[in-house]
Symmetry: C2
Subunit: 190 residues, 2 copies
Amino acid sequence: MKHSLGARTLLFPTPVLMVGTYDRAGKPNLMNAAWGGICCSQPPCVAVSLRKATYSHACILERKAFTVGIACESRMVEADYVGIASGRDVDKFATTGLTPVGSELVDAPYAAEFPVVLECRLLHVVEIGLHTQFIGEIIDVKADSDVLDTDGLPDIGKIKPLVFDTAHKGYHGIGPLLGKAFTVGKGLVP
Amino acid sequence: MKHSLGARTLLFPTPVLMVGTYDRAGKPNLMNAAWGGICCSQPPCVAVSLRKATYSHACILERKAFTVGIACESRMVEADYVGIASGRDVDKFATTGLTPVGSELVDAPYAAEFPVVLECRLLHVVEIGLHTQFIGEIIDVKADSDVLDTDGLPDIGKIKPLVFDTAHKGYHGIGPLLGKAFTVGKGLVP
């Protein structure tokens, strides 16, 4: 018997995404978004949802581009800060000491210190309600060499991405590998 | 200096969502979706992306509803299986022994064994490419009493949700609490 908790945004896990944009004047900005995820394999796309009140909202519409950095354990303080301050009031790169790098593929910056970044071209804008969903086509993924495995792909254990807990607003780490997808369930195939 | 990995669906973390639907004949079905996330706070909405080829795709369009269960460690085998088999060929509830429960709020079922479930009414359909994104308004969230904290909210440490690793296709657990959001970054506010 399950208990009703009401109409709430409870989902487990959600990511901690560092959304990078330029404003009209060319100032780089970074914000923290937990409302997002991959939304298509071909073309590869990622969705992030932002409130209209955020500074980044207008920046994405203006530049038709954004980046998505993966927040990691070693940069939890900076990741949280960019979700508290507004680019309208401060230069968050200056305050945090994070290094803005201009993407050569899309009209948006990213912070060098986050180990994995997705460079995205704005593909769709979906007005839902308080949040606008921006669907970006992933033009390239870039990663630091020290988070890559011998197969050339990022190792989640080296990235140490943050997980956001929608219920108690905590940041968690990633736990151990429990099993391989498309494999552990095969025993149930008749 | 970051290395280019190409245009790929790499994001960390992604969830393991159990999407519940009825087909035209009323047979309950369950599938595994890692492409999804919360996409709006008001109205509370969740997005899941499914390929047109999946059996669940037509079911959502037909019934204008779906549920999203949170896959958990103790049900990893069943969660993986429903991502391998198709409801076109088998009754996945029968094969797994999972218990279908009909939502009283939306025209979709869920599996009783997953500790948290979101009951959703279809709000938007976004054709992106290989995947169609279904945005559902969360009408209610239901949870088992044994995953609730003293404040009545789900405890991520009791849910033990699965995390999908998009690079190496593994299922991971959740790691320890590292800090509180909207708090740990306050020290950087000037």
